[in-house]
Symmetry: C2
Subunit: 103 residues, 2 copies
């Protein structure tokens, strides 16, 4: 997955052209991200992460497991049993996200 400089240059130029937006400040020697460049980078990373999470979620679900497990308990009292259960569950299915909320 290592990309050679010219490939990066090409990709950046194309992206800038497609967007019609300057992503890098090239007045100096070392090119630096513009303000918009930072915006695109940050948000772009979030989008990529979301995409990656989606693929892992899809694959997990294909294995027959739910993606999330939302547990809502009424009382704060005697949660110990539940914590134990969660612990046990995580051992056999560590990939499933558990969201625990009280009240």
């Amino acid at each position: 997955m290592h990309r050679v400089p010219s490939a990066i240059s090409y990709t950046i130029n194309k992206l800038e052209e497609d967007l019609g937006v300057e992503l890098f400040e090239r007045s100096r020697h070392k090119a630096e991200l513009t303000a918009i460049g930072h915006l695109v980078l940050e948000q772009g990373r979030k989008i990529l992460t979301a995409a990656e999470e989606l693929t892992t979620q899809a694959r997990q679900a294909a294995d027959g497991w739910e993606v999330q497990l939302r547990i809502c308990i009424e009382s704060i009292l005697s949660c110990d049993a539940i914590y134990d259960l969660i612990e046990e569950f995580q051992k056999i299915q560590p990939k499933t996200e558990i969201r625990l909320s009280e009240k």
Copy 2:
């Protein structure tokens, strides 16, 4: 942007293969989305929307406008002037999202 059936078939197959997940139930004549297929479709749409929003945000920002404008006002009293201002602002820059919060 219209894609021919075979192109769609190709794309779907590749996606399923890359994910290692069945997205369509093909036992019947008309192919139908599996449960995971629905998940991928819904989440995928969200991701695409986010990507599109990012490009419009980038282009807007390039035009010299902030993407969001967050206004926080102290008192609930006499907000009318602000509402008028917002109304005026929206006329000249309808693309900028305004988030108004009180207290």
